[in-house]
């Protein structure tokens, strides 16, 4: 089990069927039923947009898919692993080694330069500092951030900061990248640059992507979209009918 949680073994697992699969997932916060039985299959290498009104349960769904939250009912299977059976330590290992995250803002460590921010996940998973910085530098280049490496987050534009966040999320070569409104605070051009950079990298690496967005222009970069409404994904939308 623990072996599946690390990146090294990930590539050897045959990618047959969905990489991520939710069945009848329910999540409550007190009286609020945020997810009311969600079914969703995500194929390996697929870029999926999750859309839907505010408060419909998109972020809650993402947190359940990524093992951040444990569902109250139903199952989430990632690459053959039933996530809800993992303990907290195993889930955090899974997130560190197999998953990447990008949020709307405020995710970079303010006292670290861009290149240091990108190297953090590598250092956490035991890569030596010199090697980590070398790889982080390479990611700066790939995302068109060549001259921003020594800047602090406060000195970056919103679009640059998001590209640093994308680099940080991808530097460990995750199996699935989760993004919650990654272009939500950007203007059209900066959003386009972030999405182009993101898509170039994930398509080259075959990374699966789940991206929550209100913005149809951002969703249009995905291979398909699902709509979450009142804690549900309409039948036939999330799972291909048998």
């Amino acid at each position: 089990m623990t072996a599946l949680l690390t990146r090294e073994t990930a590539q050897s697992i045959p990618a047959d069927g969905p990489i991520l699969s939710a069945r009848a997932v329910v999540k409550r916060f007190g009286q609020t039923e945020a997810l009311r039985g969600v079914d969703l299959d995500i194929e390996p290498g697929e870029v999926l947009a999750v859309m839907g009104p505010s408060g419909s349960g998109k972020s809650t769904l993402l947190h359940c898919l990524a093992g951040v939250l444990a569902p109250d009912d139903g199952s989430v299977v990632f690459d053959g692993i039933e996530i809800s059976r993992l303990n907290e330590r195993q889930r955090s290992l899974l997130r560190l080694n197999r998953l990447g995250f990008v949020f709307q803002f405020g995710q970079l460590l303010p006292d670290l330069t861009a290149v240091d921010n990108i190297s953090v996940p590598l250092l956490l998973s035991g890569v030596r500092r010199n090697e980590a910085l070398k790889r982080a530098d390479d990611w700066l280049e790939r995302l068109g951030l060549g001259d921003a490496g020594q800047k602090l987050p406060a000195e970056l534009s919103g679009g640059q900061a998001q590209r640093v966040a994308v680099a940080r999320a991808l530097v460990t070569n995750p199996t699935v990248l989760f993004a919650d409104e990654p272009t939500g605070s950007l203007d059209s051009l900066a959003a386009e640059q972030v999405m182009n950079a993101l898509l170039d990298q994930v398509k080259a690496a075959g990374t699966t992507v789940v991206i929550i967005t209100h913005d149809p222009r951002t969703a249009a970069y995905a291979d398909r979209e699902v709509i979450v409404r009142d804690g549900r994904i309409p039948a036939g939308n999330g799972v291909r009918s048998a």
Binding site: N196, A219, A220, D223, E225
Partner: protein, 175 residues
């Protein structure tokens, strides 16, 4: 877009052969299919007739693509007038989609579903344009931007209408 004005505008920087003009047009303006030669020459003869361009030094016996064309002062004025006259904003006050939504509510059919079907159709077109845009040169990026923003406007209307369906359904039922 008026292709005759775009062709006239392309002649403003310098005189050009019909053949080159067609290719300049395709480079900037063609999206799905290139402009037909026949249409280029038909347009050019109309522009000559209207005094906006003249044909230069015809080589005897050569076809129309061996002629060079140059803009006249009158043609230049026409272009200046065209580019600095703002287009009227499109009213969009009568939309098919709005009518379908009202009728669906009136016959108590599934208005939500028709909006969902339309959303899927629009998203699919937007995905197509976004993919093309990722491969396009800067001039065509602008063309796709324009199309994408207009599809987006419809999508925003669809989302808002979907959020307002409950209220709309009550209102329609009372009339």
């Amino acid at each position: 877009m008026e292709s005759s004005l775009a062709l006239l505008g392309l002649l403003c920087p310098q005189p050009s052969y019909g053949y080159d003009l067609k290719h300049a047009y395709d480079r900037f303006f063609a999206t799905r299919r290139p402009l037909a030669f026949g249409q280029v020459y038909a347009t050019l003869s109309r522009l000559i007739r209207d005094g906006f361009i003249v044909a230069l030094g015809e080589e005897a016996g050569d076809g129309p693509d061996r002629k060079r064309y140059a803009v006249t002062d009158q043609g230049r004025d026409r272009i200046g007038q065209w580019i600095f006259t703002p287009d009227p904003p499109n009213d969009h006050l009568q939309s098919n989609l709005f009518a379908k939504t009202i009728i669906a509510l009136l016959i108590e059919d599934d208005a939500e579903r028709l909006l969902d079907l339309q959303r899927a159709e629009h998203m699919s077109r937007m995905r197509e344009f976004t993919a093309l845009k990722r491969e396009a040169d800067i001039a065509h990026v602008l063309i796709y931007d324009y199309a994408i923003f207009h599809i987006e406007a419809d999508l925003r209307w669809i989302d808002l209408t979907s959020a307002r369906l409950l209220e709309l359904r009550k209102d329609v039922a009372q009339r």
